[in-house]
């Protein structure tokens, strides 16, 4: 098995499915769905295999592949996973498969929908397994356009039109990536003299260690990357695309976008921002922490006032990303482990939320807190899904959400006590809006309007099962997740020690 290109197979599974679909008749809808489900299952199985056979004691990049790709730019088709990217990859595959199942009942042009979905999943997968910056960028930007087309065709128009939502989403992310590209180009040119240039992220990190990037340059370049990745991670004040975009998008896109795509922002900040530009990360740390606090409080506060379920979850995801940013900004091993784990946790729960909302909306065409009530009577399984996701969201011990948030607070308290305390207080708001929403839509007297709607069963149960297993499994055995993440973040230790005394924004406000 040593030479089996496992990661390439994971990446190619959805691409192969997309190509295959081009040749399947648009009328044989069932084959279209089955092909996609098969491809994603293969991807998931391979990833699970990788997850459990990853050698924790050795750490570092494993399952590596390396093929020279574009010689004059120094691009390699280099794949590999470590303790930080492997959980993200697992998350992608989990949500990808769940998204395929939640789109099972799409009737409008299903073939095109699934082709775009497969391209989208392939793009996201590629970003997490790429060791080469060029491949990373390639995959990162590939995802934007399928999302636009999916939103405008299969999206829904409620508070904002789906055309508006799609365009807002696209332009925000592309503008962010424009700044990021400038930063990456500058980085690439600064790292090595002309003949030795490379996009290999490890080599770039070494260049940083050898002092090829001056402090001023790192601060400048990191700021550009922060604009790009920050807007992807819905960092305040670049967050407003996120609720509008999710509200307009079809279920599968909301799931993938909130579940994994957003996490590329956090992943990129760690993989590129911290590893390649450590002094820049250190300098902007306090600013990020401040914005993170605003994210947590402000978004949670807005979520309180929302009626549309998708907006509640949209703002809640902005709020949760605040914790991720806080964990990143504290720049120690514990807090960064928490940030990575929290990305996984939030991915699973938000995908489950969107899958359940999608199910309810598809049946009832309602998703307002004001209209839905007492669904637990008619749809006990869906209600279970809502409860699982909701409880994980407010950090109930025993579910996936607890350990990561706890870790972030432990890690960040020593660095930014004030911000950490405020952010912890944000949990109160989270509990408030989550419980209020769940209580209104799930419980209360039986409403006969909903009697005619069936509970989830068969294929519609699959997202709940897949995501539920992850939600509970990682909750009961947090070591599975935290051990993996820890093996990745441990390697940051020497780096973090090195920058411990570096200057920071406003002298490192606490």
């Amino acid at each position: 098995m040593a030479s089996f290109p496992l990661l390439t197979s994971v990446l190619l599974a959805p691409i192969a499915a997309a190509i295959l679909l081009c040749f399947v008749s648009a009328k044989s809808v069932q084959s279209v769905r089955v092909i996609c489900a098969t491809a994603m299952s293969v991807g998931l199985l391979l990833t699970v295999y990788a997850f459990f056979s990853y050698d924790l004691s050795a750490g570092g990049m494993q399952f590596v592949e390396d093929v020279p790709w574009i010689k004059d730019l120094g691009v390699h088709y280099a794949l590999g996973v470590d303790g930080i990217s492997l959980p993200m990859l697992l998350l992608t595959e989990l949500i990808g498969l769940a998204a395929v199942f939640s789109s099972w009942s799409i009737e409008k042009r299903p073939k095109e929908f699934y082709i775009l979905l497969m391209i989208l999943i392939a793009g996201v997968t590629g970003t997490f397994i790429a060791r080469d910056l060029f491949i990373f960028l390639l995959c990162y930007e590939v995802v934007v356009i399928p999302i636009y087309i999916m939103v405008i065709i299969w999206g829904s128009t409620k508070r904002v039109s789906k055309e508006y939502a799609g365009m807002k989403l696209t332009i925000y992310l592309l503008m962010g990536s424009a700044f990021m590209l400038v930063g990456v180009v500058a980085l690439y040119l600064q790292a090595f003299p002309p003949e030795m240039r490379t996009f290999d992220m490890q080599a770039l990190a070494q260049a940083a260690a050898m002092g090829h990037f001056s402090e001023g340059f790192q601060i400048f370049a990191f700021f550009l990357l922060l604009l790009g990745f920050g807007s992807l991670l819905s960092m305040f004040p670049f967050h407003s695309w996120s609720p509008d975009g999710y509200a307009g998008a079809p279920t599968a896109v909301s799931m993938i976008h909130a579940g994994v795509l957003k996490k590329i922002g956090g992943y990129g900040l760690i993989r590129l921002g911290l590893l390649v530009l450590p002094l820049g990360a250190k300098f902007w740390g306090p600013l990020i922490a401040g914005l993170a606090m605003i994210n947590v409080m402000y978004a949670a506060y807005i979520a309180l006032a929302q009626h549309d379920l998708k907006y509640v979850i949209g703002y809640s995801s902005v709020s949760h990303m605040g914790y991720v940013l806080l964990g990143f900004a504290a720049l120690n091993v514990v807090s960064i482990s928490g940030a990575v784990a929290n990305m996984v946790a939030h991915g699973v729960m938000s995908a489950l939320f969107f899958a359940m909302i999608g199910y309810v909306y598809e049946r009832t065409h309602m998703r307002s807190v004001k209209e839905l009530r007492g669904l637990a009577h008619q749809m006990p399984r869906v209600a279970t899904g809502f409860m699982l996701a909701g409880m994980a969201s407010l950090g109930l011990p025993g579910l996936i959400g607890f350990m990561p948030e706890f870790t972030i607070f432990v890690g960040s308290f020593s660095v930014y006590p004030v911000f950490a305390v405020v952010a912890i207080a944000g949990i109160i708001f989270t509990a408030l809006y989550t419980l209020r929403m769940l209580a209104k839509i799930l419980f209360g007297p039986r409403d006969s309007r909903f009697d005619k709607f069936e509970d989830a069963k068969g294929v519609a149960m699959m997202p709940l099962i897949i995501l539920g297993i992850a939600l509970v499994g990682f909750g009961i055995f947090p070591q599975l997740l935290m051990g993996m993440v820890g093996s990745g973040t441990e390697q940051l230790l020497p780096l973090l020690d090195r920058i411990a005394d570096a200057p920071a924004f406003l002298g490192g406000v606490r």
Binding site: E112, F134, L137, E141, F179, V185
Partner: protein, 483 residues
């Protein structure tokens, strides 16, 4: 007189004459597609043959003036750089003929002439790529431009086409006059029109020389539709028959760039201090305003005209870098721009033939009546915007890494931000195609059209994901040029 060197030009001229003769021989009521087919096959064969003409990396033992690359002294040079651009023009013309064959047959009154004049335009472009003195350059430019005046007006029954032709003729003549005046001033100050001698002469720094260079550059700016000399482009693009518009955007522009780069780097390298700031300012203006003006357009051809202004700005960025990496980037970008344009204009020519217009309304519902064409259009437009995995991304990366390396970080800022803004109006077209309701019937697409669009899209994606081979070729062309 080394006729072996100019075999490509002789071959193209022969093809043009062949088209004229065939037009006479063929009965009036017989399809003229066969002429196109013969031309396509011969040009494809020649294109492949041209790969054998590339010379390897510079060999110092041969010396700088290795005679086998020149036709009559140093007036006319066929180096790797010229070869690459000639191949680019031939690719552009082959694709144009591929997707134009139906259009020519159904819309144009004089079909044989279309092919003959197309060949002459191609000949003009080839001369431009090889021109190594100002008079040769002028001859090439005129041959190309005059052929285009005729081609633009080829849709005899359409008022728009005639208007476009007249407009192009007037603006083109003015720019020609300006450039000729500039050439005469340069000749007046240095006493020569050969690039090699102009560059060595210190009299170039006198005011007459500077004015001459400025006027020559203005002439080029007209041809490349650089703001503020762009006014002709939207009307001409919209009025011209779609295949001709395509060729104007990809061939004529690339030819202008080829000659412009040679003139700047060979004849005026000493004056870099003078033209670099001008070029960087105009490039930024083009990228900003070309894209902003394109946003408001509701006709896709007109939108592409403004977008081509922005694209000229991107390519200027590579010229500003003024080193091997920059030239390589320009050539790479010019080549991928050909493929993107072929995809977009081929689809537009189908839409124009079916619906009689190329507005957003005419595009609506294309994803239902012709899903392949809608996909091709989307991918081609995204390549112009520079979104991976299309070649546009790799091209922009080459361009902007080259220019940032020379210290122009602000240009990369402008370029990347504006190219992301450009996605907005490209996506409006995608929106029209994917959202609008079609009229329900499936369109029949001819084999040649299908071949053209599929080949162009395959090339666009291939060079986006794996640009290795094209990059090697452009690198060879660029590195042997600047010896």
């Amino acid at each position: 007189m080394n006729f072996a060197v100019i075999n490509t030009e002789i071959f193209i001229l022969a093809l043009g004459l062949f088209a004229v003769v065939m037009d006479l021989i063929l009965p009036r009521n017989e399809s003229h597609k066969s002429i196109g087919a013969v031309l396509i096959f011969s040009l494809t064969a020649w294109l492949l043959y041209m790969f054998t003409m590339y010379t390897g990396p510079f060999d110092p033992t041969l010396g700088f003036m290795s005679p086998d690359r020149y036709f009559t002294k140093t007036l006319y040079i066929v180096d790797n750089y010229a070869l690459f651009f000639k191949q680019l023009f031939i690719v552009a013309v082959i694709f144009t003929m591929l997707f134009a064959s139906d259009y020519v047959q159904s819309v144009l009154r004089y079909k044989g002439e279309f092919y003959a004049i197309l060949m002459l335009a191609l000949l003009g472009m080839c001369v431009l790529a090889s021109a190594n003195d100002f008079l040769t350059l002028f001859i090439g430019l005129e041959l190309m431009t005059i052929s285009f005046y005729i081609l633009v007006g080829a849709r005899m029954s359409s008022k728009d086409s005639s208007e476009a032709a007249v407009k192009y003729l007037i603006v083109g003549s003015v720019s020609t006059a300006v450039m000729l005046y500039g050439i005469s001033l340069v000749y007046g100050s240095v006493g020569s029109i050969q690039f090699f001698e102009v560059c060595r002469n210190p009299h170039l720094f006198y005011p007459t020389g500077i004015v001459g260079i400025t006027l020559i550059m203005v002439g080029f700016f007209f041809k490349l539709s650089i703001i503020p000399f762009h006014m002709w482009a939207p009307d001409v693009y919209q009025g011209a028959p779609t295949p001709v518009t395509a060729l104007l955007a990809m061939g004529s522009k690339a030819a202008g760039i080829a000659a412009f780069m040679r003139a700047l780097y060979v004849a005026f390298p000493m004056l870099g201090m003078y033209w670099l700031p001008i070029l960087s300012f105009l490039a930024a203006i083009c990228m900003v305003f070309g894209n902003i003006m394109a946003i408001k357009q509701r006709d896709v051809k007109r939108m592409l005209a403004y977008s081509s202004i922005a694209q000229a700005g991107y390519m200027m960025v590579g010229i500003i870098a003024a080193d091997v990496a920059g030239m390589k980037a320009v050539m790479f970008y010019a080549m991928l721009y050909v493929f993107a344009n072929v995809g977009a204009f081929a689809v537009l020519s189908v839409v124009e033939a079916k619906k009689g217009s190329t507005s957003h309304d005419a595009m609506s519902g294309l994803s239902q009546s012709a899903p392949v064409l809608a996909a091709v259009m989307t991918i081609s437009l995204l390549s112009m915007a520079g979104i991976p995995p299309t070649a546009g991304f790799a091209g922009k990366l080459y361009l902007f890494t080259a220019v940032v390396d020379q210290g122009y970080l602000w240009l990369a800022f402008v370029g990347f931000v504006m190219s992301m803004i450009s996605v907005y109006y490209y996506l409006l077209v995608a929106k029209a195609m994917y959202l609008g309701k079609g009229d329900g019937d499936k369109w029949v697409i001819s084999g040649a059209m299908r071949a053209a669009v599929v080949l162009s899209v395959v090339a666009t994606i291939l060079f986006g994901v794996w640009p290795e081979k094209l990059a090697e070729l452009t690198n060879l062309a660029a590195s042997t040029f600047l010896q």
